[in-house]
């Protein structure tokens, strides 16, 4: 009689794990830790919801005979804001990683540097995605938001979301080098984020802002993300409310794409692995 011996294939020795796989492993690890800080989770997710509930309830009027109401406008704006969470999360999170020794410890291991960023980026994409889903559910359930039926409109939604999250995440990674310490990061990063929200059409329609403010906002990705999301959720009827009487989707793609490339360059040239006290 012959005996068959089944043997598990021996693990390959001395082959370092791939950067992509380690990035996925970092993303799972970071996401698990993110959900453990319950207070932070509750406030991250409830902030846009509370704002939507407040604005949606105050401004229930119809918009200049377009058949749209103001709360739908806010859903689109807050979606832009949710997709820009990466700016705030990464700006503060990486500054704290730099301060509490996370970055220094990782630097001493064979973990490829890119895996750290892949992990951070996927974690951000996931958190932003959860926020967007929650906002859409509330928008549809309470404020008469209509989800687009055209597949091409969903395609627009996806590229605005992905380019927007990537561009603002890279901007967040770049600004994480600005705070002097992890403790000051929250204040340093939150201020420009709130200002951007006010001048980019999240809370106040861009048409009601002085043009010099709009010009400043046009440099940053948030204004274009909100514009892209308005095109998805307000449709042709809302185009008359835009400054340019159109959603300018080609310009949206151009500016967001430029932020992805520019943000990457900014990160590569300015990123600090070490805290200031480490010289």
């Amino acid at each position: 009689m012959t005996q068959t011996v089944t043997r598990a294939p021996a693990p390959p020795l001395d082959r370092p794990p791939s950067a992509i796989r380690l990035g996925l492993s970092r993303a799972a690890f970071e996401t698990r830790l993110f959900f453990r800080e319950r207070d932070a989770v509750i406030f991250t997710f409830s902030f846009p919801i509370v704002l939507l509930l407040i604005f949606g309830s105050i401004f229930a009027d119809e918009l200049e005979g377009t058949g749209l109401n103001v709360s739908q406008l806010y859903v689109a704006g807050l979606l832009g804001s949710a997709a820009m969470t990466g700016f705030q999360n990464l700006g503060i999170g990486i500054a704290m990683d730099r301060d509490d020794g996370t970055l220094k410890r990782l630097l001493g291991t064979p973990l490829p540097r890119s895996s750290y960023f892949v992990g951070r980026a996927l974690n951000t994409l996931f958190v932003s995605f959860c926020q967007v889903v929650i906002l859409l559910v509330i928008g549809v359930a309470l404020f008469g938001l209509e989800l687009p039926s055209e597949p091409s409109t969903w395609v627009t939604f996806v590229w605005v979301f992905v380019l927007g999250v990537l561009g603002s995440s890279l901007l967040g990674i770049a600004v994480s080098s600005l705070p002097r310490s992890g403790r000051s990061a929250s204040a340093v990063i939150t201020m420009p984020f709130v200002v951007l929200q006010f001048i980019s059409g999240v809370y106040i329609p861009v048409t009601q802002l002085p043009s010099w403010l709009v010009n400043i906002a046009s440099v940053f990705p948030l204004k274009w993300m909100c514009q892209g999301f308005r095109s998805v959720f307000l449709g042709d009827a809302g185009a008359t409310l835009e400054l340019a009487r159109s959603y300018e989707l080609d310009r949206v793609a151009l500016v967001l794409g430029a932020w992805v490339v520019g943000g990457l360059l900014l990160c590569l040239t300015t990123f600090r692995w070490k805290s200031r006290r480490d010289g």
Binding site: L13, D14, R15, P16, P17, L22, S25, F29, R32, L33, R36, E37, D97, D100, G101, T102, K104, R105, L107, G108, T109, P110, L111, P112, K274, D278, G279
Partner: protein, 280 residues
């Protein structure tokens, strides 16, 4: 004997401060080497240059045959680093963290075995935030050794340990050294250096002021001994090169037991304090 670390003419300056002013070092493979020195002496800077964390101004450095100024991934997987205290990964449990880091290395050790070695098996499921300072430090050590390094750097590893935890930690280091791991540690505790190190270097003012076996450092073994005893209600002492003769004389004088007899040579601490007081 192969050389694990070779340093020649290393210098590093921060602004006006010359942190390292020309250090030469040879650390042999398989050796436990301790670097002693007061705060600000340049020992952490020296070690961080060897670990690839800091750039140097001048000099040659070779660690496991690689210039740490240009670290490769393969080199990183052969080096273990235990930094001075950090407070990251607070919300992860001990086991999750050790497993996560094990994934970064090609030939990592078994996470549960390493947790056992650092004496944290009871705390494996506890979040790091809830650990005491000494327990946290043991997590740092576990993360430093998880990759099965050929060379392990320990920067003040036992700060904040209680005496029992320190003994346990020493046994861990001894067993790693026994298995052939080269260990470079900085410490403030001279008994630690004496218990663990094959050789020590004393760094002061950015230079090495003494180097050698801790038992003979600074002429310690041949220094004058001090014989102490009690006589006529007071304490008496005598410094001598021939303590045995002194003790015999005393034994004759007291006709048997000499009250409160002690014979001491300068401790490593005495030698060390003398060395750092007079930087060369």
């Amino acid at each position: 004997m192969t050389t694990a670390v070779r340093v020649r003419g290393l210098t590093k300056r921060y602004g006006d401060v010359q942190a390292v002013g020309g250090i030469d070092l040879d650390i042999n493979a398989g050796e436990v080497f301790a670097i002693l020195g007061p705060n600000g002496a340049g020992k952490s800077t020296t070690v961080e240059i060897m670990e690839g964390y800091r750039t140097r101004d001048a000099g040659e450095v070779s660690v496991l045959g690689i210039d740490p100024g240009r670290p490769t991934r393969e080199w990183r997987s052969r080096i273990g680093v235990v930094l001075q205290t950090a407070d990251d990964v607070a919300e992860a449990t001990v086991r999750e963290t050790v497993r996560q880091f094990a994934g970064y290395y090609p030939n990592a050790k078994d996470p549960d075995e390493v947790i056992e070695q650092v004496g944290l098996t009871d705390k494996a499921g506890t979040r790091i935030r809830r650990l005491s300072g000494g327990q946290r430090r043991r997590v740092d050590v576990a993360l430093g050794v998880i990759g099965g390094p050929d060379l392990l750097f320990l920067d003040e590893p036992t700060t904040g340990f209680d005496p029992e935890a320190r003994r346990q930690f020493w046994r861990l280091i001894e067993s790693m050294a026994h298995q052939g791991t080269t260990i470079v540690l900085t410490t403030h505790y001279l008994d630690e250096a004496e218990a663990l190190a094959d050789r020590v270097a004393v760094v002061s003012g950015g230079r090495i002021v003494a180097e050698g076996d801790p038992a003979t450092l600074g002429g310690r073994a041949t220094a004058k001994a001090r014989v102490g005893w009690a006589e006529e209600g007071g304490h008496r002492s005598h410094e001598t090169d021939t303590p045995t003769r002194t003790v015999l004389e005393l034994a004759g004088r007291f006709d048997g037991e000499v009250p409160e007899l002690t014979v001491t040579r300068p401790s490593l601490e005495d030698v060390y304090l003398q060395l750092i007081e007079t930087p060369s």
